[in-house]
């Protein structure tokens, strides 16, 4: 049984990567066939994600299905080590879900569909890789692999924003996103090299997370060293998580990206950043983390408030959701920074909940944009009468976003608040205010876009396609399920959170 799971872990990376490479050799121009093949690959990935999540034994905890494949022996000693713990298991599941949904709604991609899916699956393979890799080289390898395709995905298939006085081309969004993320990964890379050099000085040169973790646990890694290296990871990974003030790529990038890419990017990719802070920063540099947490939680609080206030003043649907992502990722950052078992579990759950919610929102907005060719909430109005089901799903996503009990967001945010109140009381109050601000911009968005009398020009508008609505229904279903009965997720997350040093 264990062998089976180990192979499934390897396949998690290999299947999308092989799918990506094999699609390169498919004949171009056959949009439909390419889409079917992509669905096939995504379905396998989803099944594998469900298998490894479902088989994770939360009674045992720790890293499971640990396997190591020798890659480069010798002085560098790099192996492709894989393993899953309570933090990465929900993330793998999330990636499987969002990828499958994203591929399904990419039915509307007709221009060079083959190249689109080649890049999309390369991205997906990178995301899976980061979540399961237990070696710094491969973690970073997959991290870069997840970032690399974004430029072309946005630049070629994205859309520009033109509000007359406010022009943002897709090339701009793509370049900004990539430069920010790669600038972040520079810091990560330097941090990784510093860790390797330090371990080499200690006579145990290694890239393996396990080996470095043991060094950290035995307290051999110098405290001053930890204190100057931790911010590299905090800012580097933080940039991808949308940490203020390195978040500005996120709204621009999300707005310019095509639907499936926005879904994957806001839904899963930003979580890589938060995951990296936990897995690399806190696990390997516990003392450094301890020293920097007040800074991190302050930045997280600014994220929550600043993101929410920016979202309030936007007129572009996607910008609103983009800034709401910045705001919600703030809760994740705050939860991590509490180093409290409830707050941390809340952060991980929030990653999962926000991933689903934001994917659903981008899916619905993408559908609206595809039909109306505008995302301006001053122009859109009364869509409820034309697209009732879309409106219904959007309302649920919006309510989840503002933390309505019974939906996935509530429990996660509640846990983050609890954790924050136990550690940094004043910031907890600010975070609750942030949640109230969320209500303002979500309700404003819903009122402007969906309520009121429909404009003449939307007379012929029909509801979103069946595929989009099915994916939406599935996402809504999972959100309600997690909201009502979070236990299956939380028991796994709790096991994972317990192993974090300092929690």
């Amino acid at each position: 049984m264990n062998d089976f799971n180990e192979i499934a872990m390897l396949l998690l990376i290999v299947v999308p990567l092989a799918g990506s490479l094999s699609m390169m050799f498919m004949p171009g121009g056959q949009t439909k066939e390419t889409w079917y093949f992509a669905i096939f690959i995504a379905a396998i990935s989803l099944c594998l994600s469900l298998v490894v999540f479902g088989n994770y034994d939360y009674n045992v905890g720790g890293f499971q299905y640990v396997a190591s494949y020798e890659w480069l022996p010798g002085p560098l000693d790099i192996s492709l080590s894989l393993g899953l713990d309570g933090i990465s298991a929900p993330m793998v599941l999330l990636n499987g879900l969002v990828l499958f949904g994203g591929v399904l709604v990419s039915q509307t991609v007709h221009y060079r569909a083959r190249e689109f899916f080649v890049l999309l699956f390369a991205l997906a393979a990178g995301v899976y890789g980061v979540f399961v890799a237990q070696d710094l080289f491969f973690l970073f390898f997959f991290y870069e692999l997840a970032v690399l395709p974004m430029y072309l995905l946005i630049g070629v298939w994205g859309s520009s924003t033109d509000f007359g006085t406010f022009l943002r081309t897709k090339e701009y969004g793509a370049m900004k996103l990539l430069i920010f993320l790669v600038a972040g990964s520079i810091l990560v890379w330097i941090g990784i090299l510093a860790l390797y050099a330090e371990s080499s000085d200690l006579g145990a040169a290694t890239f393996s997370l396990e080996g470095l973790g043991q060094l950290a646990e035995s307290g051999k890694i110098d405290e001053d060293f930890q204190k100057w290296v931790f911010p590299l990871f905090m800012v580097g990974f933080g940039a991808l998580a949308g940490l203020w003030p390195f978040h500005t790529w996120s709204p621009d990038g999300h707005v310019a990206a095509p639907t499936a890419v926005s879904m994957l990017h806001a839904g899963v990719l930003m979580k890589l950043g938060a995951y990296g802070i936990i897995r690399v920063g806190i696990f390997l540099l516990p003392e450094g983390a301890d020293a920097w947490m007040p800074v991190l939680i302050s930045l997280g609080t600014i994220n929550v408030l600043y993101g929410a206030m920016s979202a309030m003043s936007q007129n572009d649907l996607k910008y609103i959701i983009g800034y709401s992502s910045v705001s919600h990722m703030g809760y994740v950052v705050m939860g991590i920074a509490t180093l409290d078992n409830i707050g941390m579990a809340g952060a991980v759950l929030q990653m999962f909940a926000h991933g689903l919610m934001t994917a659903l929102m981008f899916l619905l907005v993408g559908s609206i944009y595809h039909k109306t060719h505008t995302r301006d909430i001053n122009v859109l109005n009364g869509l409820a009468s034309r697209m009732p089901i879309n409106t219904f799903f959007f309302a649920i996503a919006g309510l989840a976003s503002l933390g309505l009990p019974g939906l996935s967001g509530f429990i996660a945010e509640f846990m983050v608040f609890t954790g924050t109140f136990r550690t940094y009381m004043p910031l907890g109050i600010l975070a609750v205010i942030g949640a109230a601000l969320t209500a303002i911009y979500i309700l404003r968005l819903l009122a402007r876009t969906f309520m009121g009398e429909a404009d003449e020009r939307w007379a012929d508008l029909t509801d979103s396609s069946r595929v989009e609505l099915s994916v939406g229904a599935a996402l809504v279903g999972i959100m309600i399920f997690v909201g009502v009965w979070p236990e299956p997720l939380l028991r796994v997350i709790n096991v994972g959170v317990q192993t974090i040093p300092g929690v």
Binding site: P75, L152, E171, M175, L193, A194
Partner: protein, 499 residues
Amino acid sequence: MSPLSDNLDLLTPEFAMAGLAFLVFALDLFLPEGRKNLLAFVSMAGLAVLIVLSLVMLWDEDKSLYDGLLAVDSFSLFFKVFFMGLGIAIILTSMDFVENRLKHQGEFYGLLLFSILGMNVMAQSRELLTAYIALELLSFSLYVMVSYTKNSDKTNESALKYILVGAVSSAILLYGVSMVYSTLGVTKFDEIAEGLAIVSDVSPALWVGVGLILVGMMFKVSAVPFHMWAPDVYEGAPYPVTAYLAIGSKAAAFALILRLASEGFVPATERWEQWQVVFAVLAAATMLLGNLVALGQKNLKRLLAYSSVGHVGFILAGVTALSANSDLASNGVMFYLVGYSVTNLVVFAALISFFNMTGREMMSDLGGLADHQPFLAACLGMGLFSLAGLPIFVGFTMKFYLFTAVADQGYLWLAGLAIFSSLIGLYYYLNVIRYIYIEPALTGENGEDLLEEYPALTKRPSFTLITVLGTGSAAMIWLGVYPKPLIDAIESASRAIVF
């Protein structure tokens, strides 16, 4: 002392290579116009045979020839095979270009073979004057090749610049050699190391001598501040020669630097620590300046010239990290040289192919390439991503390896600077990719459709170029994902010079 000609048979591949070059020259006289393409195949077949011959003859060999002037060891075997393989790839890449745009095809291939011979001897030499002669054999062949399109003003300018700069740098190198000889009385690498280690109070003349040798070598690899010639020469030279300059001549110069540094300087630990600072500063200046200036380039050849200056900076960072107790840095440098050559070969092959179709070489000319040449565009795009250092291509893996080696030797700041320079590089590589994939097809100056002007753009690239592009791209991914076989070979090559 053994007789000089004791084991001369170990040089069979070199003699055969010279014979092959003369054979190509001679065949050229008898072949009618229009059949000259045969020469390319003769050269390639000859090189392939020589690769096999070298591998069979010299496998696991570790000998010194001519009382230690030449080394026949795993290090030289590695580079020999590498250079000859590169030669085959360059010939494949340049065949169409040479056939359609150059006169005197026979001499082109003959000179190419001679330059490879020079490169092979460079990798084998462990004595300053022998190295100098090999270097000159390479340089003289290149002087002629650079000036091959003699009717173009640009080419004449660049050829003249190349010869002048080349002559001056050779003179500087030679002067350095003479000063080292005048102070230490030796020219062999290992004896220089002994000399440097023993002399407690190094005379200024020795410092100047070693410094001048260094300056001469830095000219050859175009490190800052001795890089000024590179962009002009790259721009003016015929495209395949530009590719050859960027790939072959640099790799050969670094093979020589690797052996000189590891056998001649590194063993004298105290002195080497002083020279490490010099190398570190050179590396830092080279990588920063090369990448920064590349930002403003519009011409593809100049862009690649500055990008290659940037990469030289990375390799120099690896040379800085050479040490007597770890082979990580020399492995890293060799891995980088191979990965960089493969990647650059793909990029140049794609650009040469594009040039064959249109005769254009500006960045903006690539607009819409993905629409009418998807295969070319994909290979070029992958090559540029690899140069920028992104996975799954070799560019990422080789950078990670090299920078780890640099950080491991305590030069974390240099590794950090290198990583930062890579980000700058990413920006301009992405700009080229933007033209290929995002910008619409270019129209001519008067708004005419380029496709009508260049009907070749809708045809498939030639078979030889597809071969190079396909195998090159596959190699890029293969080395990026599973470099172990190559690293194994490199480690055994390293062992010959490091420990």
